[in-house]
Symmetry: C2
């Protein structure tokens, strides 16, 4: 059994491609949660276009690896962001521009676990997200009205 013999259980080696780099790059550029379609459009306008399907695939891979955070906008769209810390945390997101602040829910984790256990539920997961309108968007909004 030499190096090139890849036994069946070995996952599969990731490969670096222009497209993957481009997506990762676009995510690295911003602090804001972005949809797959926004990223796709951004890349296209930048000049190094990537197929929409590839954008979705790449984001999914990144998300699975914990390299990006995913959350659902209020109307169900998936939004992606490269967060500063990999540890579990929550977000305060501007619903207009996606600007995001990473926050801690000091007691949330513990509370969630104990409430779950108290009712006989297992494998507890929790969703805690804050939505608001950031100062900049508020200002922009008033200016245009």
């Amino acid at each position: 059994m030499n190096d090139t013999t890849r036994s069946a259980r070995t996952p599969a080696p990731p490969r670096m491609t222009r497209q993957r780099a481009a997506v990762a790059d676009a995510l690295g550029d911003t602090d804001e949660f972005r949809s797959a379609q926004q990223l796709h459009e951004l890349l296209r306008s930048r000049g190094d276009a990537v197929g929409l399907a590839t954008v979705y695939r790449t984001l999914q891979t990144l998300a699975d690896g914990g390299d990006v955070d995913v959350l659902r906008s209020e109307d169900g769209e998936s939004l992606y962001r490269r967060c500063a810390r990999r540890e579990h945390h929550h977000h305060l997101v501007c619903r207009a521009c996606g600007r995001t602040v990473e926050i801690d829910g000091p007691t949330v984790e513990q509370w969630a676990a104990s409430v779950g256990a108290a009712h006989g539920f297992a494998d507890i997961e929790h969703t805690v997200e804050l939505w608001g309108t950031c100062a900049a968007c508020r200002a922009a909004d008033e200016r245009s009205s």
Copy 2:
């Protein structure tokens, strides 16, 4: 200007129909969060079918009026439930069967508001939901494995 003259700003009077009653009824029967499609199927199997579009419309109306709670399942589907209390609260939901326990997030509201304000965000809303597997579903699961 008599009674039958409905000035433009008056919303429009809701009207009781077999369909609306059926949907409300189906919701009243269960404690569990159900999708529009599940409710549609339930009604059909019960013998008093209601068009899918009508189920969606009715649920939306009920939700707008605060008569039912809506939340998004982990894979983005909208789920509806007639909760015992109309006041703001959170849920611990079984991801397998939809069984739900209404819970309070003692300090959550305040925490959300202050975190939002601290970062200059306005119109703060928060999503706090707990997902788990209830005891019954866990038992059922083990039995079949």
